[in-house]
């Protein structure tokens, strides 16, 4: 009984945790380059998920489940990536070079605009999503694993590995790393800084949308304020794992997913949000550079 319960929470935690890690990447990479917390990231996540949802629902009338899902996903990823880049152009770039706090506040403004603009358009009620794996569930040592959990886990894992390869092995990735090390020096070396920033925003937004669609299907609900807490969770993962590091974001995501599920199982599911924030406060106070950070360089 006790072991079953733990195993069950472990499985749910791993699946949802990696999805959180996908959101965390957006915070982590943007913080790495521009040194500010992109509060609007959660709004992009929500926006893209809605794009995917509406495309999917429309296509479902003509096409079978999976092709329409994949097309909707690709459409949403492209649109959200463009949206993320535009957001940076419109709201963040004009405040760059002034105080970083200005850019942060500007992103808070963007989050309000996108979230509540969407709520104004589609209404606040949650919409149920179609199921990707209706009725697929396996029994593993007394715990239940759903097909969606497996799909979520592997999609997120593959994307994270691809991203790590992109950042470490390609020229574009190298340019991004150069910018996050020293933007001024990178500029002097002839790197197109603005282009790197745009690529960062595009990647972050695309991954966030993937996470949004996965989580939306997992909980079978899409609603306008879903970005607030998903975004905050992503941020918590990024901070927990050490901001700026991709494996860190992954570990942070798994840790948060596990902590949340265990905590919610042991206490009460109502406290789920509080657990995430308690983790944030604890990490910020005791290890502000992240639990898994090797060197204690204060980036704050």
């Amino acid at each position: 009984m006790k072991i079953d319960f733990l195993l069950q929470q472990l499985i749910s935690g791993l699946a949802i945790g990696l999805a959180y890690a996908l959101i965390a990447i957006g915070y982590s990479m943007v913080y790495g380059i521009l040194k500010f917390i992109n509060f609007g990231h959660g709004a992009v996540y929500m926006f893209g998920t809605y794009v995917a949802y509406f495309t999917w629902i429309t296509l479902m009338k003509r096409l079978p489940l999976w092709p329409s899902f994949i097309i909707a996903m690709l459409v949403a990823i492209v649109i959200a990536a463009i949206f993320g880049v535009l957001m940076e152009r419109v709201a963040y770039r004009p405040t760059r070079g002034k105080s970083r706090l200005m850019t942060f506040m500007s992103s808070v403004g963007m989050a309000l605009l996108v979230t509540y603009g969407m709520e104004f358009l589609v209404g606040p009620m949650p919409r149920p999503t179609p199921a990707l794996f209706p009725g697929v569930r396996y029994n593993v040592a007394g715990a239940v694993v759903t097909g969606m959990q497996i799909f979520m886990f592997f999609t997120a894992l593959i994307l994270l590995v691809l991203l790590q390869l992109f950042v470490t092995k390609t020229w574009a990735g190298k340019r991004i790393r150069a910018c996050s090390e020293d933007m001024g020096a990178a500029y002097l070396m002839g790197i197109n800084v603005n282009q790197s920033v745009s690529i960062t925003f595009a990647i972050g937004s695309a991954l966030a949308v993937t996470a949004g669609v996965l989580i939306g299907i997992y909980y079978s609900a899409v609603y306008p304020t879903m970005g607030w807490f998903a975004g905050l969770r992503g941020f918590i993962c990024a901070v927990t794992g050490g901001i700026g590091s991709i494996p860190g974001a992954m570990l942070g995501g798994v840790l948060l997913g596990l902590g949340e599920n265990l905590g919610a199982g042991l206490l009460s599911s109502g406290y789920r949000d509080a657990i995430a924030f308690a983790l944030l406060i604890l990490v910020m106070i005791f290890r502000p550079t992240g639990i898994f950070a090797r060197e204690q360089k204060s980036s704050l």
Binding site: S106, G109, L112, Y116, G117, L232, Y271, I281, P288, L300
Partner: protein, 342 residues
């Protein structure tokens, strides 16, 4: 005659006089209701401005302190029969104490990280208020909170609450202004402008930051108790994340670090839903308002990041000379000509 008249008047005094006179001309209860709400926003913006504007520490969780103060006050009045005035003090005090706990823990961080941690604290408080059903009745909230009484007179209707709100606004403003020009206030301003330099001058920056944070939370708690008693209902949703952000936007619009900015900032954004009302119907108004606030915030930060009133802490005076000239011209136009010729 003009020798005995003041040549200029403080803008704040002028607005106070206007505020006191408004009900004499216009006392529809709907209108007064909005004014009381605006007054609460002014108090909250002033309190946030104290920590963000003067001490330079971004706080995005002030709704938590309003909630803590509101619940403390409401529970004391409901379950223990305390009077409004003591509940007001204790509510403010509890918010102050919670500000101390969070401040001691969080104020080692700076900038947007501090903002995120305070925001997280706000959510923890809201989730606790929702789930601690035995104390707070959960999402249903606490209804039937008693209204204040003073010398046997009970505050009923909007008008007495309007005057009480003005008293609270004046109290908040005057005490904040006095603190600002004290040794403590100067230390806050110094650490905001340059923390390293302030530290080098012997200012205990961390302690001052914590103190500023607590005081600011205390005011938010007062506003919470007042709100609870005014609406007679307090629930976890009365003040939440969006309200914390709203305070931040009001503060930015008014001018972060301005002494008078809270008033125009809070009034303009607080009145926004009423201004938007003709353009939309029904429940959409809340989302439209928040989206509008978002646009405003982004535009403001790009176009005028210092806000309407800038960062000035000097009192603003309005010259009364044009008024006197106008009056004189009305009474004796010849005099104007002679003085003008000299």
């Amino acid at each position: 005659m003009s020798r005995f008249l003041p040549r200029r008047v403080n803008l704040l005094t002028l607005s106070l006089i206007v505020a006191l006179l408004i009900p004499a001309f216009y006392r529809q209860s709907f209108f007064l209701h909005i004014l009381v709400l605006l007054a609460i926003w002014v108090i909250l913006t002033d309190s946030l401005n104290f920590v963000t504007g003067f001490a330079g520490q971004l706080a995005l969780g002030h709704a938590a302190f309003v909630t803590i103060g509101g619940y403390t006050g409401a529970l004391l009045m409901l379950n223990h029969g305390w009077s409004f005035w003591t509940a007001l003090l204790i509510g403010g005090g509890t918010a102050f104490a919670s500000g101390l706990i969070l401040g001691v823990l969080a104020l080692r961080l700076r900038g947007d990280y501090l903002g995120m941690v305070t925001l997280g604290f706000g959510e923890i408080v809201r989730v606790t208020a929702i789930n601690w059903v035995s104390l707070t009745r959960g999402p249903m909230g606490l209804p039937g909170i008693p209204r204040p009484t003073i010398f046997g007179y009970t505050f009923l209707g909007e008008l007495p609450f309007y005057y009480l709100a003005i008293v609270l606004v004046v109290f908040t403003h005057v005490t904040i202004e006095r603190m600002l020009f004290s040794r403590f206030g100067r230390a806050c301003l110094a650490l905001r402008d340059d923390e390293a330099a302030a530290e080098a001058m012997g200012i205990e920056t961390y302690q001052y930051k914590v103190l500023a944070f607590c005081i600011s939370s205390g005011y938010a708690g007062l506003a919470g108790v007042f709100y609870a008693s005014w609406t007679t209902l307090f629930s976890p949703d009365s003040f939440q994340l969006t309200d914390s952000i709203m305070m931040c936007v009001m503060n930015t619009l008014g001018g972060i670090g301005s002494l008078i900015g809270a008033i125009p900032g809070a009034m303009i954004i607080g009145a926004l839903p009423e201004l938007l009302r003709p353009f939309t119907t029904g429940p959409n108004i809340a989302s439209l308002r928040l989206a509008g606030v978002g646009v405003l915030m982004v535009l403001l930060l790009i176009v005028r990041p210092q806000g309407l009133a800038g960062m000035s802490i000097k009192p603003v005076y309005i010259s009364l000379e044009p008024l006197y000239r106008l009056l004189k011209r009305g009474i004796a136009p010849k005099e104007i000509k002679t003085t003008g010729g000299e």
